[in-house]
């Protein structure tokens, strides 16, 4: 039988990042979700991690044997959805 979760499963749909890629960077020692975000771009697409954030945190916990509350939460940086640069430029006050 296939493994329960396959390395080919897409974790971050916005940036096309697979579970295998996430596991690979965790094995290389990147166990802070903020680092994982910056290296793989998971969570940096249009939805800003609404799907992958929890999955990545769970995966870090599983591989490192830590509790979920011990895993640091990556920054929720505004804007929470894409905004055209032109709109930002217009809004001056």
């Amino acid at each position: 039988m296939e493994k329960f979760t396959d390395d080919d499963v897409i974790v971050c749909r916005c940036e096309d990042v697979t579970l295998g890629q996430i596991r690979e960077v965790i094995r290389r020692g990147y166990t802070d979700p903020e680092e994982i975000k910056r290296i793989t771009r998971a969570g940096m697409g249009p939805c800003q991690g609404k799907t992958c954030r929890d999955i990545i945190i769970r995966e870090v916990a599983r591989i490192t044997g830590k509790r979920i509350d011990e895993i640091p939460v990556p920054t929720y940086r505004p804007p929470s959805k894409p905004i055209k640069v032109g709109l930002l430029a217009e809004e001056s006050d």
């Binding site: 329960f4 929890d54 509350d69 929720y76 804007p79």
Partner: protein, 363 residues
């Protein structure tokens, strides 16, 4: 820059109740909501609510939305509603909230008090082919059917036997869609027995200690495999079964949408009973930032009835901070508080009560 006294982010049961309460006190309210229509999840809830009659038990969710909206309408000289608008950020240095209407209007909002009632998002599971068309969140299916009148497919595998999974299964059947099976990874059914019995009577099996293993298909879902889990949550290979389904519905929990609270620097804690990271708050829903309140699922995954009561509390206190009041509002506040306690008294609320113990503080 738009200025207001009370900004409410989110127009679901919590946000609407908060806006109504704050405006009833006399405060000027701006309500922003990302939907095209107000009401949040209520507008797709065609089932009747439970609980006490004072909290609209026996009334369908969509009717409750209607009741709240008529209250909003009555207070329209106090409440300005901006729909199709997403709050995109909170900036701590000047306490400004940014928001975007559609994709073409961007605004900054400065408010004396902010009530965050952003709700929650659906959780995802990792299994092969989970990105094939035909794999949905249960909430998305409910929206598709009950708001837009579109059925997702012909035969569905429902993953998760909490209340949402059970209710959406029943609503699929009401829409003439076959539900092949409901699987639940826990060894027991999480939702109310009355919902489970309803779909079982219609011949749909609910398998506990079972989960989805993978989905098959080329361009869309053609089949799905389910498997039994052992006591250590590991799949038992010999129990794998293939179901001919064209739709998979995931109802595996909700995650509070805490971005704005996080950006505002509100103190948080990871409380799995409440769905993940949630903010610390006092019993009146005030966060560690004196000017910011929370209400509803963003404060901890619960249900619409508690969300409305929390919203009312937040709205009353936020307006009272600004010097507003109406005759008897304090009695109303205490009454709301005791309704909330009463609602959470039952054995089914044990998980909520244990979660709240960790986050309800005194400032």
């Amino acid at each position: 820059m738009r200025k207001t006294e009370v900004l409410v982010v989110g127009g679901g049961p919590a946000g609407l109740s908060a806006a109504i309460a704050a405006a009833s006190m006399g405060a000027k309210v701006l309500l922003v909501d990302d939907g095209l229509k107000l009401g949040g999840q209520l507008v797709k809830q065609t089932h009747k609510f439970f609980g006490s009659h004072r909290q609209s038990a026996g009334v369908r969710g969509i009717k409750i939305a209607g009741m709240l909206l008529s209250d909003i309408e009555k207070l329209k000289d106090k409440i300005e509603v901006v729909s199709n608008t997403t709050a995109t950020g909170y900036y701590q240095d000047d306490g400004v909230v940014t928001a975007m209407t559609g994709e073409d209007v961007y605004m900054k909002i400065k408010s004396e008090r902010v009530i965050i009632a952003t709700g929650a998002s659906e959780r995802m599971l990792t299994f092969p082919n989970n990105d094939l068309p035909g794999v949905y969140g249960a909430g998305a299916v409910q929206t598709l059917m009950n708001v837009y009148g579109i059925v997702p497919g012909d035969r569905v595998l429902m993953v998760g036997a909490g209340n949402i999974g059970l209710i959406v299964s029943y609503q699929l059947m009401q829409a003439n869609v076959e539900v092949a099976t409901v699987v639940e990874a826990m060894p027991y059914i999480g939702g109310y027995l009355v919902h489970a019995s309803k779909i079982r009577r219609l011949g749909v099996p609910i398998y506990t200690s079972h989960t989805i293993l993978e989905v098959y298909g080329k361009d869309a879902v053609e089949a799905a495999a389910i498997v039994k889990l052992d006591s250590k949550w590991q799949p038992i290979p010999s129990t794998k079964r293939i179901l001919n389904v064209d739709t998979v519905c995931l109802s595996v929990g909700l995650s509070p949408l805490i971005e704005l609270l996080w950006q505002a620097g509100c103190k948080m804690k990871y409380v799995p009973q409440l769905g993940g990271n949630v903010v610390l708050r006092d019993k009146y829903m005030r966060t560690s930032r004196r000017d910011i309140f929370v209400a509803g699922d963003v404060a901890g995954i619960e249900e619409a009835t508690s969300a409305m009561l929390e919203g009312k509390l937040a709205g009353l206190i936020a307006a009272s901070d600004l010097g507003y009041a109406y005759d008897g509002w304090e009695a109303d506040r205490e009454d709301t508080l005791s309704s909330l306690e009463e609602l959470r008294r039952g054995p089914l609320s044990e998980k909520i009560r244990s979660g709240l113990k960790e986050v309800v503080v005194e400032w």
